[in-house]
Symmetry: C2
């Protein structure tokens, strides 16, 4: 089945132990309004400001580890993070992707250990917020509770959509569905993050070879233009057509 057997060759524990520089100015943060603390006013934000740290990760470095105690949640400021968990067969399956403004590790707020490995796909910047800080704020500002629930609901929605759109149908259509999602994380220049073939395999439940074949097909059809080792570009028109044809 799909790829990398047991996390061999991954960067060591990272995030939790790394030094934690203070976060850049929250007040002027580009994603402030979309982030968990978007509901707070300047004064409230200032009160927790000191407890928030900044984390930077390179590709394939772990942000959190499944099963570990969860002392903090993370808000992604830049980059793409994947959620992985092992299947019963010891293989790995990617179950969700999150990007800027989204929350990682919310289960920590309930006193639960992290439910998935969260691993950087691209270079990632994130804010580290201690669970205790969220709890304290929550008591003072009940609206934060609504915002948390809203995020849980979004995560659930994303997971169920993943299941229906990426977990069914022929390989080519699943790949198109994935690319449509990656398009949302495109940079200003229109370039998307292009996963490794084995990552595609883990996301779409197919082998590396099948992933490679389908990518090549889209490349030959002019839908996808590879652009550097881990980047690509979609031709909007050709992509829409391919999607309409629905994978042959």
């Amino acid at each position: 089945m799909n790829a990398h057997p047991l996390a061999a060759g991954m960067a060591p524990g990272a995030a939790c132990l790394a030094p934690r520089p203070p976060a850049p100015a929250c007040e002027s943060c580009a994603i402030r309004r979309h982030a968990l603390f978007g509901v707070l006013d300047d004064a409230e934000l200032a009160a927790v400001r000191g407890q928030i740290g900044s984390v930077e990760l390179g590709p394939d470095e772990r942000l959190v580890l499944r099963g570990q105690a969860a002392p903090a949640v993370y808000t992604v400021r830049a980059g793409v993070v994947r959620f992985e968990r092992p299947t019963a067969q010891g293989l790995r399956r990617i179950v969700r992707l999150v990007g800027p403004g989204e929350l990682v590790g919310a289960e920590g707020l309930l006193g639960l250990p992290y439910a998935d490995d969260a691993i950087a796909c691209t270079a990632v910047e994130a804010c580290r917020i201690p669970c205790a800080a969220v709890d304290a704020l929550h008591r003072a500002q009940p609206r934060l509770g609504d915002e948390l629930m809203r995020r849980w609901q979004q995560a659930l929605e994303a997971s169920e959509t993943w299941l229906t759109e990426l977990g069914t149908g022929p390989a080519l259509r699943r790949l198109l569905g994935l690319l449509a999602r990656l398009q949302r994380y495109a940079d200003d220049d229109g370039r998307i993050w292009m996963p490794r073939r084995d990552e595609i395999g883990s996301m779409l439940d197919m082998t590396v070879e099948t992933a490679s074949r389908q990518v090549s097909r889209l490349r030959r059809a002019g839908v996808l233009v590879l652009d550097g080792p881990r980047h690509a570009r979609l031709d909007a028109k050709a992509f829409a057509e391919a999607l309409a044809r629905g994978g042959e």
Copy 2:
């Protein structure tokens, strides 16, 4: 691909319009401690008691409808409910199952429409709780907020587990995974709810025929004993062996 094209022949709207008898005594409810309001004491419970209605559904009747405004949430008291949503191809995919003690339609508390169709698999009894009642209680009793978040997290966990365990691997193993889940909803007598073959198809992303073949295989192997039209029984020993072999 998998079964029933567009909900033809389903019972009409049901739940929302049906008469709402008052709920049976909450104080002595068997699932009280496992339900959403398990955190409330007798006095708090008594205060909302009057707003809670009881709903009873037969197999294939809808509890809530995807996309519709969500005035209430439901706590399942008995039976099994499936969450369905249409795929991009107009087919239906079952994305989650819930049983006694679990919550349906929590997204309504955020002012969102229902995210999935929730349909009774077996005979179902549920409590209908107006969102307004939950909101009011929530303001009075903050612990209810934690309980809600806990349920959201459980739903998310269930969805991701569904993806990794039922969305991958050969057909037989996926079926075994499903049966293991259904076992949790077994009655005191050890009988489990046995889905129709097309329902199995919608859950495990396979055709009716494949579902039938795999079921027959398990039947011949003595793992599964069909017992009435919509019921079955698992042979614990044979089942464990089959699971260990992992689908041949």
